[in-house]
């Protein structure tokens, strides 16, 4: 992939913009690198022997993952949850719904690409129509008339695409800030940054756009999942392994696109 105007040569001292390098391009490669580093860094952080149960559960980094979950909980408690609380107080539900719709609409190009990469042409068509309808009639994506028109939303990401292509998930990971993942899904996250066309648009203040989008995506996600996660924690004898099992089941369901596979269930 070549950024517009990139020649591979530039005079020393010139700014990247004058060199013709798109800021979006640098960000995407940075995102990919960060994703890969995060996905592999925990290999060096494991402390203590791994239990046979953890190995059987494909969680060889269990000790490091448990420590990461505890750290994430501290960040949630002192930063994320108070921020989400403020967001809920200051922004009424219609406004939060608008933010959610807008963010969802921004993701549609990435979802469309992943639909196509998986050969899901019907779903790709739905994504394309949703993007068109919600961007126009939906006032730039703040409204969701496409759902009312009978075109429901769905999610796709490059981690799911890799799974469809036969890539195994690898060992369970708990990533800083992000939470449950695995090498395949973490790589997929970084690749989605590359695929996202809004990251390729060269415009001023792009960094503020990126920061704002990440911030509101975090608020939206935490707002949607907070009560559910609290419920899981309340009902669990071991929150860590409960989350691990739930994450794997949820990803398997996403990869299947909701198709039922009753034959995979254990007999009991």
């Amino acid at each position: 992939m070549t950024a517009r105007g990139w020649t591979g040569r530039g005079k020393p001292g010139k700014s990247p913009r004058k060199m013709g390098v798109s800021k979006g391009m640098r960000r995407t490669w940075t995102g990919l690198l960060v994703g890969l580093v995060l996905a592999t860094s925990l290999g060096g952080c494991a402390t203590g022997p791994t239990s046979p149960e953890a190995l059987a559960a494909n969680d060889p980094f269990e000790q490091a993952n448990r420590a990461a979950l505890k750290r994430n909980a501290v960040i949630d408690k002192y930063f994320v949850i108070p921020t989400v609380g403020l967001y809920f107080l200051m922004v009424p539900e219609p406004g939060r719904r608008g933010v959610h719709n807008f963010l969802g609409n921004l993701s549609l190009p990435t979802i469309f690409v992943n639909d196509m990469l998986q050969g899901e042409l019907s779903r790709a068509g739905q994504s394309a129509w949703r993007l068109f309808i919600n961007s126009t009639v939906g006032l730039g994506g703040f409204l969701d008339p496409a759902s009312k028109a009978g075109i429901p939303p769905h999610g796709e990401d490059f981690g799911q695409t890799l799974a469809v292509w036969g890539v195994g998930e690898g060992p369970y990971l708990v990533l800083p800030f992000i939470g449950p993942s695995n090498p395949r899904d973490a790589t997929g996250m970084a690749a989605d940054i590359l695929i996202d066309p809004t990251n390729q648009l060269p415009f001023k203040q792009h960094i503020w756009w990126d920061a704002g989008r990440i911030y509101f995506t975090l608020l939206d996600l935490k707002g949607q999942t907070y009560e559910t996660l609290q419920g899981i924690q309340r009902n669990s004898v071991d929150y860590y392994s409960s989350l691990r099992g739930l994450y794997r089941q949820m990803r398997a369901e996403q990869i299947r696109n909701g198709r039922k596979t009753a034959e995979d269930l254990p007999d009991f």
Partner: protein, 212 residues
Amino acid sequence: MPFSTPLPRRALLAMAMSAAPLLLAGPAFAAPNVAESFVDENIHKGLEILRDKRLSTVQRRDQFEGLLLSLVDVRRIALFTLGQYRRSAPPEDVEAFVNAFKNYATAAYQSYFAKYTNQQLKVTGSTQRNPTDFIVQTQLVDPSSSQPPAEVDFRVRTDTGKPVLVDVAYQGIWLSLEQRDQFVAFLGQNNGSVRTLIAHLSDLAVTLGKPT
């Protein structure tokens, strides 16, 4: 034209008799409907108990528990969630665990289903895994929300002669599988001590509102 010549009475009788085994086969052909009816009737009963404002908290809990224990094969689920530790644990610990799991499960299920009392459940079909194992698909619809319906599946077994629930899945996530994952992980962290797990479950049951 076919059948333009009236069939002799004996031929008609022979056809009827040959069809009788099909009509009377009952379980093999009607079982998916039995599973669907079982879920439809009883889940509605459960939701009605949970939304009945005339009942006190204690009455609601007791009625829900009574219904749940009549529908769910708690022992089968409990033994499944122990995973490989079922074979190595002393039999008396396993029995104590089944009892503790029963208390925990009724409190946990009541807590789960209480969130959906204002929603409507619609059976949309079923899949037969084998002659005594069915997955009944339903949708939970919230009339007050524009959210799409949630898909909830119920796993029904009929191998004991009557239908029983053994698992439930919300949006593709099976509860018994998740419980097995966490119980096995907990036991792995606690030297396989089922008694420690029992103590933990008993504490949780109290926290979730179920006295032990």
